[in-house]
């Protein structure tokens, strides 16, 4: 069986696209485009509504117009100057970057070991790593919370970057993905390196990593996305507004009696739009990554 790699999984000219191509079933095709367009609109309209609301002055929020009559950036200046949103942005960014770098390094290193080394205990260790995938995060948050309040090192992990990030610094799904990929690294190349006196770490760093860059890239991109959007653990691991990540901050925006819809939509726009732009630029790799691992975050 052909192995699944991004290049054959996402070849532009699909093998199964042949159905009906020679029969000129234009009615079916027109129907497809109609349905797809309606569905695609359903996908985009909430985003446009979010953006449009973020540019409405407060008095227009309760009106029925879709687009603002008098567009304003007041909401943006208010959110940036009068809330902690810039801090949440910074926190989300630091946590996501830190986790992603750690995941890229440790997951690929562990994947490399499982793909290329023979050692006693390899199978049980690998199985234990994989089994941990079955344990839902929701089961671990309560023990993590207890551990964070009373950790082995440091006073408390609550309201620290490490405290938010630690559950995600190594991922079993990433190790599994990297193992699949690293199996494609030729043994001859590694042995040649050994004869030339390259250290074992050097073999990983200078042979295995460069050959697996596409997979590491995909891993990084959607690990970043997963951490950026992570919610349940950051919600519990933070108590001070200065330490919130973006999703936690947005959730706790409306603590007052009234819901400040224009500000929430502005915060949502600010958290979503830059990411959407990045996603559109890298869409190919992200789709590949999602299809390869089938995991979110």
């Amino acid at each position: 069986m052909e192995s699944i790699t991004p290049s054959n999984l996402f070849r532009e000219h699909s093998d199964s696209r042949a159905v009906g191509s020679g029969r000129g079933e234009w009615k079916y095709r027109a129907f497809s485009y109609l349905v797809l367009t309606v569905c695609a609109l359903t996908m985009v309209v909430p985003f446009i509504w979010m953006l449009s609301t973020s540019f409405k002055p407060e008095k227009e929020i309760l009106r029925r117009n879709f687009f603002p009559n008098q567009a304003t950036v007041d909401n943006y200046s208010e959110v940036i100057t009068e809330t902690d949103l810039p801090l949440w942005y910074k926190n989300s960014f630091i946590v996501a970057v830190f986790s992603t770098i750690s995941v890229a390094f440790f997951d690929s290193l562990a994947g490399y070991v499982f793909a290329k080394y023979q050692f006693p205990g390899k199978r049980p260790i690998f199985i234990i790593f994989l089994t941990s995938l079955m344990v839902p995060t929701e089961m671990l948050i309560i023990p993590w919370f207890i551990m964070s309040s009373n950790p082995p090192i440091g006073g408390t992990w609550v309201d620290t970057y490490w405290g938010i990030a630690f559950p995600g610094v190594i991922t079993a799904s990433g190790i599994f993905l990297m193992r699949q990929f690293m199996q494609g690294v030729p043994d001859e190349l590694l042995d040649a390196g050994r004869i030339d006196g390259v250290s074992e770490f050097g073999l990983y760093w200078r042979v295995a990593v460069p050959l697996s860059l596409p997979a590491i890239g995909a891993l990084c991109i959607f690990n970043f996305l997963g951490n950026w959007n992570a919610f349940i653990w950051p919600l519990i691991a933070t108590s001070k507004s200065e330490m919130f990540t973006l999703p936690v901050g947005i959730q706790l925006f409306s603590s007052e009696a009234q819901t400040p819809w224009n500000l929430i939509m502005t915060g949502a726009s600010l958290s979503v739009v830059p990411l959407l732009i990045v996603v559109i630029i890298f869409q190919r790799y992200i789709i590949e990554g999602i299809a390869l691992t089938g995991l979110k975050g």
Partner: protein
């Protein structure tokens, strides 16, 4: 003899070299794996066992003692489920409703969309991006957008209903409509993921099957029923399991879309994980909350085992 002596010497040296190399590799493997092993032991496995242990205690982090209570938390859970009405019972019922409605609807829609997407060329990348944008968006941010869309009077959906002279709907404010309203967001957001996986599955189906079907003059429906559907079976099982698990773990949308994140109105949208969150972090009944997570884990385990069975049978 000189030559044989020479050969055996080389073989010895070779053997020694191999032996030391093998041993060196074992040592390096463990050095490389040291931090991941510590991580998984301490951050994944120990807390999982800790959760089991907590579920056997009356665990309140603010209390001085955490007394052992045996299976009392589980008994309490069964009591709650046997009551005519209780938040925990509502949580389990709603989670079942989300799952039993959400998974089939989501998979059918996604399959339909991906079959269509698979056959078009013009603008196909554009459509793909449209469908997977919601999936990469923060659930909390987009749940607040949906909450606004559902608002009475100024919410976009009610505005549109009024445009076509239909009666206004309460959506999130009505115990009957709230669950489908939340569910719509979850289906909307998860659709792109299922579409991507279906498209990957469709590409694995060899073209020759379709050519043969075309030669035989098979109708579109027959081609789908007897070629696409059976060959897509592994993808369907994979998605069924993944989406079921993600519906079992539903939390953020309910927290964001209901009044003060309580899963209302009248517990009509609350889920198991929302119960866990509220029991553990607002009431500090961490023992009881842990017993709920153990039940959740048991469900996920059962589903995973069924999946492994089904997949193994197919290979045989």
């Amino acid at each position: 003899m000189a030559t044989s002596h020479h050969t055996s010497n080389r073989a010895n040296a070779d053997k020694r070299f191999r032996w030391t190399l093998a041993r060196r590799k074992v040592v390096w493997a463990y050095i490389f794996l040291a931090i991941p092993i510590i991580f998984f032991a301490y951050i994944r496995i120990y807390p999982a066992l800790f959760a089991f242990q907590m579920s056997l205690h009356d665990y309140n982090p603010l209390a001085a003692e955490q007394p052992y209570v045996g299976l009392e938390n589980y008994e309490k859970l069964i009591d709650e489920l046997n009551k005519r009405k209780s938040p925990t019972k509502a949580a389990f019922q709603n989670t079942a409703n989300y799952l039993l409605l959400g998974v089939p609807i989501q998979l059918c829609l996604a399959l339909m969309i991906s079959l269509m997407l698979n056959e078009i060329r013009f603008m196909s990348t554009f459509y793909r991006i449209m469908f997977f944008l919601p999936f990469v968006t923060s659930t909390i941010a987009i749940a607040w957008v949906f909450r606004m869309l559902y608002q009475p009077r100024f919410g976009l959906i009610n505005v549109m209903l009024q445009l076509v002279s239909l009666p206004q709907q309460p959506f999130l404010n009505n115990p009957k409509q709230a669950l489908p309203s939340v569910l719509s967001l979850v289906i909307w957001q998860g659709m792109g993921f299922a579409v991507i996986i279906f498209l990957a599955g469709l590409k694995q189906i060899p073209r020759t099957y379709y050519e043969a079907a075309e030669v035989d003059g098979a109708s579109r429906w027959h081609t789908f029923r007897f070629i696409t559907l059976p060959l897509l079976n592994p993808t369907i099982v994979f998605l069924l399991v993944l989406q079921t698990i993600s519906f079992l773990r539903m939390f953020a949308p309910v927290l964001a879309m209901t009044e003060q994140g309580r899963g209302g109105p009248l517990d009509s949208t609350t889920t198991v994980v929302l119960r866990v969150y509220r029991e553990a972090f607002t009431s500090f009944n961490m023992g009881y909350a842990s017993s709920l997570t153990v039940v959740l884990f048991a469900f996920i385990l059962i589903i995973t085992i069924i999946q492994l069975r089904v997949t193994a049978r197919r290979i045989n």
